[in-house]
């Protein structure tokens, strides 16, 4: 499908994309670049990529497709660093988990004849780095692509076919729609869990037995509060407005629930919990 793929950021996502496309025979040669030279060397040694580059210029100058999988806060700068060296016809796509701000910043950076396509593979593990990558990470998982009115149709189709070759089901969505959806189903639950761990810890200051009993249900519920802090800082900063909208909605729901606990309104509470159960069972 393509001759040369450049992967910028050869971590779990970038490395797995490379492995998946190599395994599918969808690419002839993969060049990797990573600011972490130790990780990059490991990527080469493990065969995650075929070659490694010393800088952005040599990484992308012969690429048909550039896949950027660096932290979201670094994405625009990485695209800007690649842009001057992109060969004509090159397609650039990313794996960032926030899209509106990023797509708006990256599209105008493309030189004439090069095309940007925003993307977000819905996949991951608790591990990171090239050594954590594996060819089947995207198998059966969704990948959201976020074309805009400026997106080149052939570039979009190429990126879609590559994600499909990696095993993903591709869906297209406007960048802002993507951000609103993930604010609700992913970013909000993370914020809720982060606040919960803090609230339980503050309670533990008043009652020493609390920590000893915090295992069990609390364990599963707060797993997401162990997610990478700098990644979630970036998501909170870059998806600020959609996130604020759902934080606000959550605050209203919580305040209403607390008020009904305060007045002891059993009928309301049972109805609220019944609806929660029905909604949750419908969603899953």
């Amino acid at each position: 499908m393509i001759k040369t793929l450049a992967v910028i950021g050869v971590g779990l996502i970038g490395g797995s994309f490379s492995r998946a496309l190599k395994a599918a025979g969808a690419v002839q040669r993969v060049i990797g670049f990573d600011l972490d030279s130790e990780n990059l060397t490991e990527a080469l040694q493990l065969g995650v990529v075929d070659e490694i580059a010393a800088d952005y210029a040599s990484a992308v100058s012969s690429a048909d497709l550039v896949f950027l999988a660096v932290p979201v806060r670094a994405m625009t700068a990485a695209v800007a660093a690649c842009a001057p060296y992109l060969p004509a016809g090159c397609v650039v796509t990313d794996g960032g988990s926030v899209k509106e701000e990023l797509v708006a910043a990256c599209e105008p950076l493309m030189p004439e004849g090069c095309h940007f396509v925003g993307g977000h593979p819905i996949a991951g593990t608790e591990h990171s780095g090239a050594k954590a990558s594996f060819a089947t990470l995207f198998q059966g998982r969704r990948c959201i692509l976020t074309p805009t009115s400026r997106t080149d149709q052939q570039a979009l189709e190429l990126v879609q076919r590559l994600w499909e070759a990696a095993g993903s089901r591709v869906e297209c969505m406007e960048p802002l729609t993507h951000d609103r959806v993930f604010a609700a189903v992913s970013h909000l639950p993370h914020m809720v869990a982060y606040a919960l761990v803090h609230a339980v810890d503050r309670s533990a200051e008043e009652e020493e037995n609390i920590l000893a009993f915090s295992a069990g249900g609390f364990r599963d519920f707060t797993r997401i509060a162990s997610s990478d802090p700098s990644m979630w800082r970036d998501i909170a900063l870059m998806n600020r407005l959609p996130l604020l909208a759902v934080l606000d909605r959550y605050q209203q729901e919580f305040a209403a629930l607390k008020e009904k606990v305060a007045v002891g309104d059993g009928a309301w509470l049972e109805n609220y919990f019944t609806t929660s159960k029905r909604l949750r069972d419908e969603i899953i």
Copy 2:
């Protein structure tokens, strides 16, 4: 250890207690009573209990120990219904998940020579009824007993030995301490999850794609929002003040987090998420 055990409420908890003690050879004969006669018949057919009683009086009148495992809202009334028929020396204990209000109500109901010991086995499954019970439910799980200044020491020791025979690790705690601990580590997470499901559902009214993407992380996080609504109504009503204290603490944490998202304070957010991760990893 005892000759006759009466189990009032032969569901998952009551039935499993009976099975566990029979399996351990800690009881000679178990009499069951349940307001749900279909469930009670099934308990007999499945051998969960040895005999079934037609009313509270015949269930408890020959019992050395009475174990009540009815919904918490019905517990005090069930203890009151048994009290006139308790033989001298009988020990009464319960499995209710809220303790302060219940222990305070049940202790004075005991006739002369009979003793109440509050308890809360930390075990359960998503299923209910006698057919869901099994002998190893309490194996390796904690059981909290909540003695007070009025508790008879021999009665406490008997109840402790029985739970140990059922495979549990027994810990004693004041009733109010119990309620504060579980408000923080169990009741608060449930309220947080119930509100989350509602907030996501409200978001879905504005953005149709949301429900389609609600699986994955959201699934684990909201499992507890599928818990039995009437049980959680009762817990919210009966543990009102300790629950309000932690709901309040949570509301403060969430408001602080939202404010920092609103102003885009990346350093604060990263620090908050880092602390969450550390606290959570310490707790688990």
